[in-house]
Assembly symmetry: C2
Homo-oligomer: 491 residues x 2
């Protein structure tokens, strides 16, 4: 089974597609650009959701739910937002179907045309700020710290499972504050929550930075992001947090009476991550055998496979396996014991490698005699035989070690693939032959950024937060550099 995967070397893009489908994460649906997230993929997403949701609540946020539909006119209210979002959208124009008397089947009822068309939300700033208008009167109503888990639709022309789909699942935080400072602090807090999640749960190192004017969110003053590096040397934006200033408050007339009795516009932020993280997770760690999942997000952390010749050997193996399973579960470890007789052990080994189960235990008749068990790590593919005694403690520690190892491997790869260049020739040479992040000076103009994008398809991924504003020369224009930035080709 695993043999059917295209290798990364051969065709990274095809390897990714093969893996997402063969590991049962997702597949394309009958509706153009929309995916079906299959149970195994959804189980990983649920683990991501649970961890993120806890982090949001621990930082004082509550969940709520706003409508799927946004009246068309709402988009026109915030000038730059409409340019960025109102174009490639699914538009509801009618609210009824009827029997088609002429051609059979059903047809849209022309009498059921909406007075104002409704757009399926591509993001919810407009409908939410229209609602906040009624919720915010006084400084006592602030801050308002709300998150929504929802589906959104952006009519993308070229789609790829998880990375870019017409419909996707995400969370969108929308907060309202009395002061600019508080909103800026919230923006930074949440981008750091994302970085913490990416590193500690996904085992995926990220660079926290600010987007250039050209790459920022339509309607934001500043956009901050986390950027990760994939194994093919391309960057992937994994989450964004926007300081929206008073733009949406002004567009929807949301004012509050301050502590001093003055009427002021509210300050806003928004921040989101999506099922795109699933794509990032796959591409950051997996190998030619299949998925490599960090234990903290693996739906099954340990699988136990019995090895036996005749069915008379199974009861003894079942007994030991069930005991070990219980020991592990009592430590909060999720375990699957796969004693199906419809598949051979070799098939099961390949299957759980493909599915990225972090630890595999194999138990045969000889192990019963010796009180031993075979342990295989998915990350390194190492195998060893250990005593059954205290195996639960060993595995508990091993899962931590695997989580760290996956992170460190990705971190080493990332560090090896940030290259400082100082000439335009070097820039192009590194980009074409090595990929990765290129660190160099930028003169701060959109012109330069766009010219580089046009010539190389590389974009400024971010101005890293720890970037020093010292002197240097723009890689292309030769003008004085304003910041040291990271360029890369990106997903």
């Amino acid at each position: 089974m695993a043999k059917e995967l295209t290798t990364r070397e051969e065709n990274y893009s095809q390897w990714y597609n093969d893996l997402v489908i063969k590991a049962d994460l997702a597949e394309n649906s009958a509706v153009r650009g929309c995916m079906v997230i299959k149970p195994y993929g959804y189980a990983i997403w649920e683990k991501m959701q649970a961890a993120l949701d806890k982090m949001f609540k621990d930082t004082g946020h509550s969940n709520a739910y706003f409508p799927l539909f946004i009246p068309k006119s709402f988009f026109s209210r915030e000038a730059s937002h409409v340019e960025g979002f109102a174009k490639e959208c699914a538009v509801v124009t009618h609210y009824r179907l009827k029997n088609d008397e002429v051609n059979g089947g059903i047809m849209v009822d022309p009498d059921a045309k909406l007075e104002e068309e409704l757009v399926i939300r591509p993001t919810s700033e407009t409908i939410i700020w229209n609602t906040y208008k009624n919720w915010i009167q006084s400084y006592r109503d602030l801050p308002l710290l709300i998150n929504q888990w929802a589906n959104v639709v952006r009519w993308e022309m070229r789609t790829r499972l998880f990375l870019r789909t017409a419909e996707f699942l995400w969370q969108e935080g929308h907060t309202a504050h009395a002061t600019q400072q508080e909103a800026v602090e919230e923006t930074m807090k949440m981008v750091n929550v994302y970085a913490n999640f990416a590193e500690n749960f996904m085992a995926m190192p990220v660079i926290v930075g600010k987007k250039s004017e050209n790459e920022k969110f339509a309607g934001a003053i500043d956009t901050y992001c986390i950027e990760a590096l994939m194994q093919d040397g391309k960057a992937l934006q994994a989450g964004t947090s926007h300081f929206l200033g008073q733009n949406f408050a002004k567009a929807f007339d949301v004012q509050f009476t301050s502590n001093e009795g003055k009427l002021e516009y509210v300050w806003a932020t928004s921040w989101g991550v999506s099922t795109r993280l699933m794509g990032a997770l796959v591409m950051a760690h997996s190998d030619d055998h299949g998925l490599v999942l960090p234990p903290k997000l693996a739906p099954i952390q340990v699988v136990i496979v019995p090895i036996y010749k005749g069915p008379e050997q199974l009861p003894g193996l079942n007994e030991v396996a069930e005991r070990i399973k219980q020991e592990l579960e009592s430590k909060g470890i999720s375990v699957k014991y796969d004693n199906r007789d419809t598949q051979k052990p070799g098939w099961k080994f390949a299957e759980y490698e493909l599915k990225g189960v972090p630890v595999r235990l194999a138990l045969g008749p000889r192990d019963l005699e010796n009180g031993s068990i075979e342990i295989a790590r998915r990350d390194t593919l190492e195998k060893k035989v250990l005593p059954q005694e205290n195996i639960a403690v060993y595995i508990e520690n091993l899962l931590v070690e695997i989580q760290n190892n996956i992170y460190n491997k990705a971190l080493n790869f990332r560090e090896e693939n940030i290259r400082t260049v100082s000439s335009w020739e070097e820039f192009k040479e590194v980009l074409d032959n090595k990929g990765g992040f290129i660190s160099c000076y930028w003169d701060g103009t959109v012109e330069t950024e766009l010219k580089i994008k046009e010539e190389t398809k590389a974009t400024i991924r971010c101005i890293p937060l720890d970037s020093e504003e010292n002197t240097g020369t723009d890689i292309l224009s030769g003008k004085p550099g304003k910041y040291r930035v990271l360029y890369a080709r990106a997903y």
Copy 2:
């Protein structure tokens, strides 16, 4: 604040609307028929989701996600399904907006018309069975036990918060089985899961029964339901579980190779509950002071309010309150300590009564001297003063007692409001003057059912599972009764 609620006596319907809005559960949005679920309401829904999700997983189901959009033609495949569902739907006809050069603002781009219109899912049988076709080849692929948490849209003309909205949130289970027997068992298992959830979490007694032909789901062979009684004597359908036979398998050509090597159509079920449960929860238990929440679904189970005259009294109260809060939290009880100085204790008392917090603790300077604390129960509004010592154990037990008391109160009300009648005059008299469920014989014909509905607006809520099939006379037609059924006016 609580005084602004219309009383149930005065106008039950208005009381419900007032309560949903004033208790911050939900409100109408700018989009016709769509609601905003506010943080406090959503927190209750999250508790419902968590409990149900665990029950689904404990019974072997996995979550997945299918597209929001369904190609129009899919609805025509199952004949009765299209009649029931494809009519009042939101229809996406275009995928792009553009600047309106003539009138300003934005307009639907006429060049971006979809070849086939997409319907926003009103329920997902069609898109899911179209997908299952590729997942099921052999008996080894069965059973397939999948659930989806999602938003759905039905273009209702008359909407009410939670009870009937154009967009609502729900879960829909869709399972596939090798045999009829297994599918029937699944249908019954899930309607019983719903009954268990309603009774043990919502503290809401329900009657489990089968729908009449006229009331069953469009596309089902049999629909089972749970029916609850609201305080105004009207019934509310709180969840349904459908045995779909091979209808969808045939419509989407889903066949499998059986154990004996024969090609057979797959057997199906589907089952769902929605945010309608929020409406049921409110109407089942609440009173003229506000919400009454069962402790198992209350976002805040205990609130502590300090009573003080000068700010110098607060630190001492804070210390004791925080200690008690920690004791309670260590028992897994959710506690809010509200020591805001922007509101008076009386305001806070009314507020938490309105919000249905099951237990309120009040702590004043005299309590510090005496080592005492005042405890008020939301369900009975009883107050007593108890020693602070061992208060956590007392409250832990009290929460169980409140949960049971709320259930028993609703059960008594329900039992008192099931009336057996034996004449048509009596039927109408009871319906108009007392409401509730009316138990009587039905001849099993759609004609009788519809005639009764037309004359009285009462419908057959269900044929209770424990209904004995013994002889009796139909209440209207006088023909031999086929079943003893429950009639009621319903939401």
